[in-house]
């Protein structure tokens, strides 16, 4: 592991090596999700609100973080250097985006662990919880990557990524559950739904889905965003 980080030969290793060389930034990165989640999970906040807050945390931190970092990498010329690597640009770009998602997942591991420890009896929701979190983070990184190709600064990226994320959170029933069958169908097609349902289930809130279908939906959603990672990665590197 030491060698893996001291002599990085891949983009994920390079990401981690840069993280560990900045201990203060690493500490902030790891503490930030906990600072949001711990008060919620260890207070008497209803499960609905805790699930909403944690879903929003994951849904916004990934695109905002990825968009800002990739925008900086673009203006610094690092994405151009990736473009010149002797590998298909889609693969290199995908590696870069998934590395970001991997780091984000490490960042939220303590939060998800707290959710699990808080209610061990809700173990049926855990597969959906992890799959939903992974899908949300990968999707967020893809969105951030795309946003970085159409903006000129990290600040602009933040505005652009929030435009689709906030309506998607609403339509996914994160703020208020939908009982209408049409809206229920729309909800199932949207990102964040499965993570939100899994969090509700794991935190003892009222769900509109059973754990099994939620896990299957999250898994399908994760597969779909992983399939999109290559074309988005190519766009990330090839955009001038």
């Amino acid at each position: 592991m030491t060698r893996f980080l001291s002599l990085p030969a891949s983009i994920p290793a390079r990401e981690l090596a840069e993280l560990v060389r900045r201990p203060r930034a690493l500490a902030v990165k790891m503490l930030f999700p906990l600072a949001v989640a711990v008060p919620l999970l260890h207070s008497s906040a209803p499960g609905f609100y805790a699930a909403m807050a944690v879903t929003m945390l994951l849904a916004t931190m990934a695109p905002l973080g990825a968009g800002a970092v990739l925008s900086r990498e673009r203006s610094a010329g690092l994405l151009l250097r990736y473009r010149l690597l002797p590998a298909p640009p889609g693969r290199v770009g995908m590696e870069r985006v998934l590395a970001g998602a991997g780091v984000d997942l490490l960042q939220v591991v303590p939060v998800l662990a707290l959710v699990m420890v808080g209610r061990p009896g809700a173990a049926a929701w855990w597969p959906a919880l992890w799959l939903g979190a992974a899908a949300t983070l990968v999707a967020g990184n893809l969105l951030g990557a795309l946003a970085s190709t159409v903006t000129r600064s990290p600040g602009e990226v933040m505005l652009v990524v929030l435009l689709p994320v906030l309506p998607a959170l609403y339509l996914a029933g994160v703020f208020t559950p939908f009982t209408d069958p049409v809206m229920g169908t729309v909800t199932r097609l949207l990102p964040f739904t499965y993570l939100h349902q899994a969090l509700l289930g794991a935190l003892g809130g009222a769900t509109t889905m059973a754990p099994g279908p939620a896990a299957v939906g999250a898994g399908l959603y994760l597969s779909a965003v992983l399939l999109l990672a290559r074309p988005v990665g190519r766009r990330l590197l090839e955009a001038s």
Binding site: S6, S10, A17, E18, L78, R83, L85, A87
Partner: protein, 339 residues
């Protein structure tokens, strides 16, 4: 960055940046063949219908003023950007994204970025490994290259502590570490001190002798003359003249070059029409005149016409490649494309 510093006595004696010899290499396709390249920017500027080839072991310098299209051209030749028209082939392959093409190239662009928090060695290791070197070869080559480059003492310092010159040296190490067979270098001496520039020229010559094709861009006429090989004069996106350094210098060989340093700009017309003045160009407060071999430079000064008190200095020198450009365009290399 002198070679003796980098020569590892325990190693084979080959300079560290030389590519590995490989059987059959002599028969392979020409390293670079570009025909009718067009890449034009919306705001103006770029390359318009340019033909260029770089053979094995050939050194080609693209010389032109700022804004003449050098960087645009090098980005196309370095596989960064596609040509909008025309075609480019690297070792006979036309797909710029082909990993085999990119593995054969060493590209140095003017704004080379690094991973700032990682050390110089970690940066170079990343690129060496990604370009296909196995760990033992990467270690061996990088150790020698870092010594050769003069970065040996800074090898384990984070790049964010490097100066511009050190970053450029690191970028050179990264560009040559995998043994490319074609080097594409945009302003390679940018940020290098004189010694570094001398060592770079020596390295390029030795690479060329080993069969590596080199194409570089510069607006430094002295660099192009020291590198030797073929020179392409670029102006407003077009190659206005190609030839060896000797051929281009022969075109201005019989002339005298008179450079006037002035305290303020003066009208050029009277100077340009003095007897013996063949071409006149201006860049800021510097006036450059090409005079016939038998012209008297002192007489030409009459053309200052009442502005003689503004004269701060003058030099009479042998013409250089910049004067070939001046003769062809009526503009100095330093003036850029807008004057």
């Amino acid at each position: 960055m002198t070679e003796p510093r980098g020569s590892d006595p325990a190693a084979s004696g080959r300079p560290p940046w030389l590519p590995e010899p490989a059987p059959g290499r002599a028969a392979e396709a020409v390293p670079l063949w570009a025909e009718g390249i067009v890449r034009w920017h919306r705001g103006g500027g770029g390359v318009l219908g340019l033909d260029l080839s770089v053979g094995q072991g050939e050194l080609v310098s693209v010389l032109g003023p700022n804004g003449s299209g050098k960087t645009t051209l090098l980005r196309v030749l370095g596989t960064v950007d596609p040509a909008q028209a025309g075609s480019v082939a690297w070792f006979g392959r036309r797909d710029r994204r082909d990993p085999a093409v990119r593995r054969a190239l060493g590209v140095l662009l003017d704004g080379t970025a690094h991973f700032e928090t990682l050390t110089g060695y970690q940066n170079a290791w990343f690129f060496a490994r990604r370009f296909g070197l196995d760990p033992s070869r990467a270690r061996e080559r990088l150790n020698r290259l870092f010594t050769w480059s003069g970065l040996g003492e800074a090898v384990h310092r984070p790049v964010e502590e490097y100066s511009l010159g050190m970053r450029r040296r690191l970028a050179l190490v990264e560009a040559v570490c995998h043994g490319p067979r074609l080097l594409v270098l945009d302003e390679p001496t940018l940020g290098l001190d004189w010694g570094g520039s001398v060592d770079l020229v020596e390295m390029l010559r030795r690479l060329a002798r080993a069969g590596v094709g080199v194409v570089l861009s510069t607006n430094d006429v002295h660099l192009a003359e020291r590198v030797g090989g073929r020179v392409v004069l670029l102006d407003r996106g077009r190659a206005i003249r190609q030839g060896t350094v000797a051929e281009l210098l022969r075109e201005v060989a019989g002339l005298q070059r008179l450079e006037l340093e002035l305290r303020a700009p003066v009208p050029l017309e009277r100077l340009a029409t003095q007897p013996g003045v063949e071409v006149a160009g201006v860049a800021g407060t510097t006036v450059r005149l090409l005079l016939a071999g038998d012209a008297n430079p002192v007489q030409v000064l009459r053309g200052l016409d009442g502005h003689g008190h503004l004269l701060a200095g003058l030099r009479v020198e042998r013409p250089h490649l910049g004067d070939a450009f001046l003769r062809l365009t009526g503009r100095t290399l330093e003036a850029g494309t807008t004057s």
